[in-house]
């Protein structure tokens, strides 16, 4: 069944056929035909953002919290270039996005026309794949293929650039089922020999650790369930990257907390001292490994990843397993059970005793105060007052992000949205909007810093327009806290441009955008302020004034191995040598 329709109609029809219910976007000259079709239908809800970067982050939040791809509409030129940060963010964190951009008509391409940019050229390195459509007959087929590319294998963002004359022209609509099967079919089943080798290693391991990442979340709820079953069955300790929080519940008894630069003492030392490291859907990022030469020197390493280029990229592994986490874990469990569910229980008991000693260090401890709100305390109270609620948390980027990761507990996957790989300040507010659109009845909190929040604060307008009751929990230290911390540790306390001299009055800002503003300056008022934030049915900014010069610990300084962590009470002077200073 092929039908004739305009390119613009095809876009809307293809989105409907792909089951899209929500798009985030911003119209412009080169997108007018498509926006005309959006106007004439009611199946797809369009959320008008205030800046195209906001659209991409909102779509990321929508995608990460639902497991479905996020869809974005932007116009040509500045519309597309504004989407570049979000595309790069989604590429780094493996978030499926489909961005449809308008383009000047085909006969004007290359003439430096008004709002013309080489969008496919600009976005080629920051998408999984992109297309410029020159023939309306190819449009629908390409959109369907784009959904396949974005969501299969390692997910990621794709972009389709659609010239305006292609939107107006009439062509043949290709429904999803008629799209020819592509050669692009990433492998999901792992090699059974390699999986058997992993099981054999599991049976013998004396000091094992699971090191899990965002790949578990991307593999779907089934992957998290299988992971939990495997952890419970083997009684191995488990840690996770920033991107993987929630795959294993924070309340689980085998949970060591997050690992990495600001991870827990027990997680990082377990990684350093283990004899078997089982990497499940993580990528040995430099925030995780610290100094590579000293990274977990005594361990045999297994790596389950759907992206072959992630395996052996920076860390050599003995047991590489290419495949989807859920498929591989299913086979691991099957084979491990069939061989009698064996582990080295005697050795494991000793390993847990060692881990308990590390836990006793209480690495997340901090000196609380009666007079000033400590940021860690603020997060602890936020956690305590919202635990057990139907809750989603987004963050901006910086100290507050790390504190949120350390002090908030995630019991389920898809509940935690943060910019990990790219570290995009300004991610959290639009992401919280995308999450709230997908989950209108749920509590959505953006844990923010004052500096990050300002980077996309225009999206408060979006929250107000669509009555999205997102809670903006700003830990306001009037500083670029993480930059300031590094300047203190690395640059002789020369605080070059790391403070904000003219911050807005966030209460008035909320008011100006039609939301509610709450100021909290004293620890005694903190619970009341958080409860007032939760009670208000509408967008809220809680301006929480926190200790200005608090540092985020534990910390593995740049260029140091896992077993040279700085703890909260440690002297930080000279902790990072000049070799470490060149690293990021």
């Amino acid at each position: 069944m092929t039908r004739q329709m305009s390119g613009a109609q095809m876009v809307v029809q293809a989105l409907k056929d792909q089951g899209v219910d929500t798009v985030f976007g911003y119209p412009g000259g080169a997108m007018l035909p498509i926006y005309d079709e959006i106007f004439r239908q009611s199946d797809i809800r369009h959320i008008l953002v205030r800046h195209e970067q906001g659209a991409t982050h909102a779509a990321e939040g929508y995608a990460r919290s639902t497991g479905k791809p996020g869809v974005v509409l932007v116009t040509s030129g500045p519309g597309a270039t504004n989407a570049v940060t979000g595309l790069t963010d989604a590429l780094m964190d493996s978030i499926p996005l489909i961005v449809l951009s308008g383009q000047v008509p085909t006969f004007m391409i290359g003439t430096d026309a008004f709002q013309e940019a080489d969008t496919v050229g600009i976005t080629r390195p920051c998408t999984k794949h992109n297309w410029l459509i020159k023939d309306t007959d190819k449009l629908a087929e390409t959109i369907h293929f784009a959904f396949h590319v974005a969501t299969s294998g390692r997910p990621g963002p794709v972009l389709i650039d659609i010239p305006k004359d292609v939107q107006f022209a009439t062509g043949r609509y290709t429904p999803p089922k008629k799209v020819p099967r592509s050669h692009y079919q990433p492998q999901v089943k792992g090699d059974i020999d390699a999986i058997t080798a992993l099981v054999a290693a599991i049976e013998k391991a004396k000091k094992p650790v699971f090191y899990t990442g965002g790949g578990v979340i991307n593999s779907g709820h089934g992957a998290s369930q299988l992971l939990r079953e495997l952890v419970a069955g083997t009684d191995f300790p488990i840690t996770s990257t920033l991107m993987g929080l929630g795959a294993y519940p924070a309340s689980g008894k085998n949970w060591l907390g997050m690992l990495g630069m600001h991870g827990t003492y027990e997680a990082n030392l377990a990684m350093h001292d283990c004899d078997l490291m089982i990497n499940v859907g993580a990528r040995f990022d430099d925030r995780i490994t610290g100094r590579l030469e000293d990274f977990s020197p005594k361990s045999k390493k297994a790596h389950i990843d759907i992206d072959a280029s992630s395996i052996n990229k920076v860390v050599h592994v003995e047991i590489p397993i290419l495949g989807d986490v859920a498929h591989v874990l299913e086979d691991v469990l099957k084979i491990w059970k069939s061989r009698g569910r064996k582990t080295n229980t005697e050795a494991l008991r000793g390993w847990w005793q060692q881990i308990d000693k590390w836990r006793a260090v209480n690495c997340l401890g901090f000196h609380n105060s009666d007079s000033v709100i400590k940021p860690q305390h603020a997060i602890q109270r936020l956690e305590a007052l919202t635990r057990g609620m139907d809750r989603y948390v987004t963050t901006e980027v910086g100290q507050h992000q790390m504190w949120a990761a350390q002090f908030m507990g995630f019991e389920d996957p898809n509940r935690w949205m943060t910019s990990g790989g790219l570290g995009t300040m300004g991610y959290g507010l639009p992401a919280s909007i995308g999450v709230q659109v997908a989950h209108p009845q749920s509590l959505v909190i953006n844990v923010a810093g004052d500096a990050s929040f300002l980077m996309n604060m225009q999206e408060l307008g979006t929250a107000a327009q669509y009555d999205l009751p997102v809670k903006q929990f700003i830990m306001n230290n009037e500083r670029l806290g993480m930059v300031r911390q590094w300047q203190q540790l690395l640059h002789g306390e020369r605080y070059s441009h790391s403070w904000s001299e003219a911050l807005p009055d966030f209460v008035k800002l909320a008011d100006a955008f039609g939301g509610k503003g709450i100021l909290c300056e004293h620890p005694d008022d903190l619970d009341d302020a958080i409860n007032a934030m939760l009670a208000h049915d509408g967008p809220v900014i809680l301006d929480c004034r926190v200790e200005k010069h608090e540092n985020c610990f534990p910390m593995i300084p740049s260029g140091k191995p896992h077993n040279e962590m700085l703890l909260g009470d440690a002297t930080t002077e000279g902790a990072i040598d000049t070799g470490g200073a060149v690293l990021v």
Binding site: L132, S309, I319, L322
Partner: protein, 186 residues
């Protein structure tokens, strides 16, 4: 231990099985990459090399299957075994890439390059250039009373040798195609 199994890309007989993966020896590998002949595909491949800091020693591309819209890109690159493996994996995950073959590790292969050399001169030098061209089986594709254009086909090393010999004899211009390569046997 079984090798990493790739659906497309490097074969099981990868450099990892043959050599120390952590070796820092710089190796030269010839890769044959079969791609959809679509707009921007070459830019994707080149962008991958420049974006991730890999080397390209030689690169050739042309359509090889008109009906199937397939092009073959032959890339000669250098790097440690780990970098070479990474290049192959990165190439293989580009959506329009069908296959990546490492001709250097997948058994014997043949490599050929075509070059054209303009050599200007008269008298003894002109005679000597012609004589050497005969030894190298270079064909004369254009001639004037004061110049030749030679066409030579062979391995890059053979062409290098011919170029070196022509230099003192009046070499004024060189055009090289880059390497085309293919595995031996079926």
């Amino acid at each position: 231990m079984s090798a990493l199994v790739l659906k497309k890309g490097a074969s099981r007989r990868s450099a990892y099985d043959l050599k120390n993966p952590l070796s820092d020896t710089i190796e030269t590998h010839t890769l044959a990459v079969l791609v959809d002949n679509e707009a921007g595909v070459l830019a994707r491949v080149i962008g991958l090399f420049s974006g991730r800091g890999y080397n390209i020693e030689s690169l050739t591309v042309a359509e090889v299957d008109h009906l199937g819209h397939l092009s073959r890109i032959t890339i000669v690159t250098t790097g440690t075994p780990q970098v070479i493996e990474q290049i192959k994996a990165q190439l293989a995950r580009i959506v329009p890439v069908h296959d990546v073959h490492d001709l250097t590790v997948e058994g014997a292969s043949v490599e050929r390059e075509l070059a054209m050399l303009k050599v200007a001169g008269t008298g003894e030098k002109r005679v000597e250039a012609m004589r050497l061209a005969g030894i190298f089986r270079a064909a004369v594709v254009d001639t004037t009373l004061e110049s030749f254009v030679f066409e030579i086909t062979g391995t890059p090393e053979k062409i290098d040798a011919f170029v070196d010999l022509m230099r003192p004899l009046g070499l004024s211009e060189i055009a090289r195609t880059g390497v085309a390569a293919m595995s031996r046997g079926t």
